[in-house]
């Protein structure tokens, strides 16, 4: 009997131990111990989700989120899950200093990504430099040239500042261009492009026969296009923003730019976004314009196709650009840069990560990336591509190769220029 009694007694002792163990695990102390073992790696950033840059910002963020989900599905980084801490900067430079201070001082994130575009990024550059923090840039233009932060790495394909204008002028000059017309919006990015174009033209003794800046929000371009046409330029370099890009192409369609023009385009923002391209339709034909990624054969690297499969599905739900060629794959590539650096270094030591990023070439879904000392790409990977055979009101056509033929850079080239511009428009 006593044995029988003692048996349940020992059982209950065991149960007591188990309960105590469970209680410790569930207590705040135990929980924090468990979390400490696998606290997530937090990547902080602001992203324009309202305001003028929101369209691009949201697409870019979706790219980063797809990377986060991929890496977490593979078990995370250093055995820890990856978590994003994202705030909306309202597309404004005045919001970002406080946001990044919150990320660094209050949230104490492990790594920082920059917001999409130059303006919101500019005010945080001195801050990250002062604190010695690694920052992965997101399509800002020459934001580090004055600051000289050696832990800045831009995911954009820009490369050296003058390469953009050089590549376009190369194409124009090869087609027999001997003079240039310059038309640029009075806004930050367009003016930066115009400035480098003037410098490159000056070096090459290429006369600028027309140089016009127009105020933002201009909608009617017929007088400007008439004045441009009257100067009979061979190369027309346009640096414009989405609403004006559409206005300029409409005016060109009505008035024409003359038979002298060999190439037209170069720095027109907006012609990379699905909705704008769908709206413009056949007006796009013949235009040679910059881009960052296009669905041409030469542009597919390891993981690119899988990325776009996921993006296309999630873009509908996230209500962002259905094509997403311009920014989203580069957001994913930002993540890949960090992934490779952290794996190689084996820790989150910012200095070591920066050293690794500076000294190596990194495989990403947008091709190999190597950085020069200023944190921009060593070589430009900005595409110059010509629109061909585009029909009206059809978004899906842009998913197939051949609609935007890559003329530059050489290693990614998928066709030859059709010139003059008037002939290419047909």
């Amino acid at each position: 009997m006593s044995k029988k009694v003692s048996k349940p007694g020992s059982m209950s002792r065991r149960r007591l131990l188990a309960t105590a163990g469970a209680a410790i695990a569930a207590s705040p102390l135990g929980a924090s111990m468990l979390q400490a073992q696998q606290a997530p790696i937090r990547i902080g950033m602001s992203m324009p989700q309202t305001g003028g840059l929101a369209g691009g910002g949201k697409a870019s963020l979706l790219g980063i989120e797809i990377w986060r989900d991929d890496i977490n599905a593979k078990g995370g980084l250093l055995g820890r899950k990856v978590e994003l801490v994202v705030y909306d900067d309202k597309s404004s430079a005045s919001e970002t200093p406080a946001i990044y201070s919150k990320l660094i001082d209050v949230d104490k994130v492990d790594l920082l990504f920059a917001p999409y575009a130059t303006v919101p990024t500019a005010p945080i550059m001195p801050m990250v430099k002062q604190r010695g923090l690694l920052l992965i840039g997101n399509f800002s233009f020459q934001v580090n040239s004055k600051i000289g932060h050696d832990m800045w790495f831009n995911n954009a394909p820009w490369g050296p500042p003058d390469s953009w204008a050089s590549s376009f002028l190369d194409i124009g000059q090869k087609a027999g261009g001997k003079s240039m017309a310059l038309l640029a919006a009075d806004q930050e990015f367009a003016q930066n492009l115009a400035k480098t174009a003037r410098e490159v033209a000056g070096k090459r003794n290429l006369p600028i026969v027309f140089d016009q800046a127009y105020p933002p929000n201009t909608v009617e371009f017929s007088s400007i296009i008439r004045a441009l046409k009257a100067t009979k330029p061979d190369i027309v370099y346009v640096a414009s923003y989405p609403p004006d890009s559409a206005g300029i192409l409409r005016a060109v369609n009505e008035i024409g730019v003359g038979d002298s023009v060999k190439v037209f385009g170069g720095g027109m923002v907006g012609l990379q976004f699905g909705a704008v391209m769908e709206n413009m339709g056949s007006l796009l034909n013949g235009v040679v314009n910059y881009n960052s990624w296009l669905p041409e054969k030469s542009m597919y690297f390891e993981g690119t196709r899988e990325f776009f499969d996921k993006y296309t599905k999630r873009a509908v739900e996230a209500k962002v650009d259905p094509l997403g060629y311009y920014l989203a794959p580069f957001g994913y590539a930002s993540g890949q840069l960090i992934e490779q650096a952290v794996k190689a270094v084996g820790s989150l030591d910012q200095k070591a990560l920066a050293k690794y990023l500076r000294e190596n070439t990194h495989k990403t879904i947008v091709g190999p990336i190597a950085f020069s000392p200023d944190g921009e790409r060593k070589e430009t990977a900005v595409l110059q591509a010509q629109f061909r055979g585009v029909v009206d009101k059809n978004m899906e056509q842009f998913r197939s190769a051949g609609k935007q033929v890559i003329l530059f850079p050489e290693n990614l080239k998928s066709g030859e220029l059709v010139a003059p511009f008037e002939a290419a428009r047909k």
Binding site: T50, K90, S92, A93, K102, A122, M125, P126, P216
Partner: protein
């Protein structure tokens, strides 16, 4: 000095002492970044209220004055490497001149026409700066901060303290105006400009004075902002958001008393900062909008007006 005066200046001294102590004791930088923005809006709202509240001339040109302050600093830093006090004083001087010009406008325009003219002012100045390459033009400009001056060990902490000084200055001026003959004259001309003129109130002189003081203060507030951001672009510096927020803060707080804009700016400014780092999406714009509508419907004379109504007795004339 009256009892109220002693209380006010004691309060101001305690506020400045607290701000100073905070810069010496708090290591975390975020409160200074967020606090700077809130203080900036307090000073702007108080300055706006001198013309918009007391005189009843609704000025949509806050962003014009603010932006000119920013670009005055950018120019001075670029050309001479001028220190912060020089930037603020020059900003104030330019703002006073601009205010004078704006005051002359009131000779011909009143009510809605004056307000529209102030929007035009913003656009004209922004276009000018956009085309002025020396200060960066449309592309914007990055500027480097000089070394920080003791006893501060961080530039943002110093800016936070400087902005607190500007707030005290603006509030002191606003309070003085309200309690002096200037305030009574402005109130008279707000109620009926013609009647005021007929009873011997020097309306033009008063309007000019209000414009000059309000303009100088708003420009002075803009000046340190260049150093805060270390970057300036016309679209940011002349953002209409400054005008709209300032106006909303003054109206929500109440324009009849000098403390109204302070209450409004602290409430709205803090909410904006909190929403940016909490909800942080399109929803925060909605929340602000709903808040505005609620206040306009529930408290048309602002929080100060609401408090007075709840107390059941007007305390006009006191401060």
């Amino acid at each position: 000095m009256t009892r109220n005066g002693i209380a006010f200046w004691t309060g101001a001294a305690v506020f400045l002492a607290a701000v100073f102590a905070m810069t010496q004791l708090v290591g975390n930088q975020y409160p200074f970044f967020a606090g700077y923005v809130i203080l900036q809006f307090v000073a702007l709202a108080v300055a706006w209220s001198i013309l918009g509240g007391y005189a009843g001339y609704v000025n949509f040109g806050t962003s014009a004055f603010f932006g000119v302050g920013v670009y005055a600093s950018v120019f001075l830093v670029n050309a001479f490497g001028a220190p912060l006090p020089v930037q603020i004083l020059t900003g104030a001087a330019i703002g006073a001149l601009m205010g004078f010009a704006l005051g002359l406008l009131t000779l011909r325009m009143q009510g809605i026409f004056f307000s529209i003219a102030t929007i035009a002012l913003t656009i004209i100045i922004e276009t000018t700066i956009t085309n002025w390459r020396y200060v960066g033009g449309a592309a914007g400009i990055q500027i480097q901060r000089p070394a920080v001056t003791a006893p501060f060990d961080n530039y943002v902490q110093m800016l936070f303290f400087v902005q607190a000084l500007l707030v005290v200055l603006a509030v002191a001026i606003s309070r003085y105006i309200q309690n002096s003959w200037i305030g009574r004259g402005l109130q008279a001309l707000r109620d009926d400009e013609l009647a005021a003129e007929c009873t011997g109130v020097p309306t033009l002189r008063l309007k000019l004075l209000a414009c000059v003081i309000s303009g100088a203060l708003m420009c002075a507030v803009g000046a340190p902002s260049a150093m805060y951001l270390q970057y300036a672009d016309p679209a940011g510096a002349f953002n209409l958001n400054y005008s709209v927020s300032t106006l909303a803060m003054s109206l929500i707080g109440g324009t009849a008393h000098w403390s109204g804009p302070i209450v409004g700016a602290i409430l709205l400014g803090t909410t904006q900062q909190l929403l940016t780092v909490t909800i942080s999406s399109e929803v925060n714009v909605l929340v602000l909008g709903v808040m505005l509508v609620l206040f306009v419907v529930g408290a048309p004379e602002g929080i100060i007006g609401l408090i007075r109504k709840l107390r059941g007795k007007g305390k006009e004339g006191e401060a």
